[in-house]
Amino acid sequence: MTRKILLVTIFIANGFMVSAQNRLSASDDSIRREATSNAVKSKLSSPLGAAALSNFVSTVHASSFFKQGVNGKIELHKGFKAGWNAGLSLDQKIGTTDTEALPLSLTGISPGTTVLFNLQKMIWHPTFDILSDEQIQQLNDVETAYAKRNNIADARTVGLREIRNNGTDEEKKMALDAFNSGFKEPFFVNAKVGFTKTAIMYSKDSFNLTPITDNFVTPTFTFSLVKVLGSGFNVSGYFALSYNYSVNYIGATATTFTIPFGNTRNYYSTTLSLGKPAKQMDNTITAEFRKNIFFKNAIKSASNIVISPSVNYCIDSKAAAIFLPIYFIKGTDASGKLLDGLQGGLRFGYITNTLSGKFTNFNKGFNAQLIVSAPLDLLGVL
């Protein structure tokens, strides 16, 4: 009798526990906060994350990604008439133990892959309207003399930059003044639409630890306004403001369980998140500044550093981030061709939660990434 009562009690207790486990979700505040923080880190630290522009580094690149591995990115771009540009990109998370990246499989895109379609419009109307016909005639007379002296058959083909580089002091000044009077750097409007496929393994049952793997396809949308900055005949960088809307599914922190293997004395372990992943929407505002720093040397090649600090605020998840990527470009030859096949950089970041009104501990919020990329576009947006 006692045995029967005991069995019934265990059966009922088990029923309550399974029911309770089924109600587990990542909505628990502390779990959710940590998972949100990880999601924000992932989002802002990926090659597609903090950048206002899709081809912000280059067409192919990889960047280290915390302890989880690296991100690889491939982009295709096509320019059209009237300043329109379109692109398609794939961003693949590559784990530390992966030996190959597989953004596409027979069943479509693989988990961890983001597919983005990018459309960009350039607004650019430079003009020399401010110069009178007399001033232009004077300039043309100077150019004719310059062309004759340099054996250039048609003076109309001379560019002001060429005169600035090779003319007399007087010609140089005239070329710079004329150029500054008419040249305006372009303005870009950029829109990106895409989706990310994520696979999350979790369990709703901490008693049996039955694993469930769910695939989620979530949308992302980014709108950016970019003003190119220049000085004289050089492009010096750009300033960008962007807005991003994204949806993520956040799993609770994974736990490793060690479980007896049947009736043997052996054990095996499994790593699972407990509770169903929670859906999280986020609206992020980013301000990004990019500055090209040129170091000229004696043979007129340039060793360059590009810095691109950005400030990001995730409105819904109440997280703020500051990033400072620094790219090192070995230089260009006399014709301006980049010397290196691959280029490197470092990206430093600090992410803090603003929920409690206190900043996250620097050690916890700081991260550094290594970036290896194909030759960098000095402007990125073009």
């Binding site: 430079p126 043309n140 560019g159 008419g182 750097e185 492009v235 576009d377 000095l378 402007l379």
Partner: protein
């Protein structure tokens, strides 16, 4: 149209412009008295009718991202001494900008 122009003794010609931009952006304007008659951007082609005796402006601008190459070809038909065929072809390093303007009057 030929009837009207012959009757009014108006001589007009046509300028055809082709632009090529690799690794950069290019824009070309044909202007008169502050008005834009023709604007081409990047890889494009266009034409506009021009009259003799009027002074026009030919403006071109370049901004580069990578190692870049541009080609601007302009031809007036029928041939006119006021604007011999023009080819501006240049190579540029990354991250520079350039441009120029000249006046021309067709005979």
């Amino acid at each position: 149209m030929p009837f009207i122009t012959n009757f009014l003794k108006i001589d007009f010609m046509n300028i055809n412009i082709k632009t090529l931009a690799e690794g950069c952006h290019v824009t070309v304007n044909i202007k008169v008295q502050g008005q834009t008659l023709l604007n081409l951007t990047d890889n494009d082609e266009g034409n506009v009718n021009l009259f003799s005796g009027i002074t026009y402006r030919f403006e071109w601008f370049v901004i580069t991202a990578k190692v870049a190459h541009i080609k601007i070809e302009a031809v007036v038909a029928p041939d006119n001494e006021g604007f011999p065929p023009l080819t501006i072809e240049k190579d540029y390093p990354p991250g520079v900008q350039d441009g120029n303007v000249f006046l021309f009057t067709l005979n």
